[in-house]
């Protein structure tokens, strides 16, 4: 199972449809302070089912939707998709390519899709079980959080291990 691409539209500062492609090895993400690098990290956490507003650096869940700038009005919808190459069938699903999508409207709940058919959050979690990509996963370390594993209490550290396959 390999990561192929991320697509974000209406999520935080991604007011325009934005795609990032991957291809193995090391990908560096660079840019000035405040340009949107950590917003991309949040987009990836969000599409994988993150529901904690604190770890998404927002107050309410709809705070992740583009709030406008000095010229544009706020958008009403945020959508992020993540696409995996599943030709080795790590994910227990018959597709060779798997796209997970999350969509949220200002007033409502989030909607989840796997290869464009609507599912529940539980289905996304079940699909990702054993890949280490759940919400508490050690595979994603947000900015400023590297020390958190040392400063947290012993019982809190257990969560890291529960994610291991």
């Amino acid at each position: 199972m390999k990561l192929k691409k991320i697509k974000a539209f209406g999520f935080k500062t991604f007011a325009e449809p934005t795609t990032v492609e991957f291809g193995g090895g090391i990908t560096a993400i660079v840019g000035p302070n405040g340009s949107g690098k950590s917003n991309l990290v949040d987009a990836i956490r969000w599409v994988l089912g993150e529901t904690s507003t604190r770890s998404l650096r927002s107050g309410k869940l709809e705070d992740v939707i583009f709030a406008g700038n000095d010229k544009r009005k706020p958008l009403g919808l945020a959508e992020v998709s993540i696409t995996f190459d599943n030709s080795d069938h790590t994910l227990l699903i018959e597709y060779g390519e798997v796209e997970i999508t999350r969509r949220a409207y200002r007033a409502g709940e989030s909607e989840y899709f796997i290869n464009r058919s609507q599912v529940r959050l539980r289905d996304v979690h079940d699909l990702l079980m054993g890949t280490g990509l759940g919400p508490g996963s050690y595979a994603i370390v947000s900015q400023g959080q590297i020390d958190a594993v040392l400063t947290s209490k012993p019982a809190e550290r257990r969560a890291l291990f529960e994610e291991t396959a």
């Binding site: 325009e16 990032v20 560096a28 660079v30 840019g31 949107g36 950590s38 550290r157 291990f161 291991t164």
Partner: protein, 160 residues
């Protein structure tokens, strides 16, 4: 189950010691469970001793020592239970040049059969990359992503 958790934990504990000594070029590091008989209650303790130094409580470690210690644990978890990708957001911010080198060598090894995504401001870390994306705001408040051409483009790792 309890047995599964303990088996994984022991493997991570062994890897953590090994990775720590590589990142610090010496020293010792240990993790252990506070209550290995009780899966839902157990906690995880950490004790480390940088080379040539006395063992001190974790808060006494320096900013860079804490970041490298935490990285050693993350890398140990990755080695025992790989994921399709890893995403590290400025984990190199507190590191001096020598530690960035050691950190980078480890990252290169782990990335050989996975995808390692690094957000960074550190030029030495950027040199590591196979591909680079620049995030900018050509229009204020709106992010756009451009694929930055790397000067000495590294050969793309052959995907297994």
């Amino acid at each position: 189950t309890q047995a599964q958790f303990n088996e994984i934990f022991d493997r991570v504990a062994r890897e953590f010691s090994a990775v720590y000594s590589r990142l610090f070029e010496g020293g010792t590091a240990r993790i252990w469970q506070t209550n290995p008989e009780n899966l839902s209650e157990t906690g995880i303790e950490i004790a480390v001793q940088p080379p040539g130094k006395k063992q001190m409580p974790l808060p006494a470690l320096s900013g860079g020592e804490q970041a490298m210690t935490a990285a050693a644990l993350i890398f140990a978890l990755i080695k025992v239970s790989p994921s399709p990708f890893y995403l590290l957001d400025e984990v190199d911010a507190a590191l001096d040049d020598a530690n960035v080198e050691r950190f980078s060598a480890m990252v290169r090894e782990l990335a050989s059969d996975s995808e390692m995504i690094l957000v960074t401001h550190n030029k030495k870390t950027m040199e590591l990359a196979n591909r680079m994306y620049g995030v900018t705001m050509t229009e204020s408040g709106i992010s756009s992503i451009i694929s930055a051409e790397l000067t000495a483009r590294r050969p793309e790792p052959a995907l297994a």
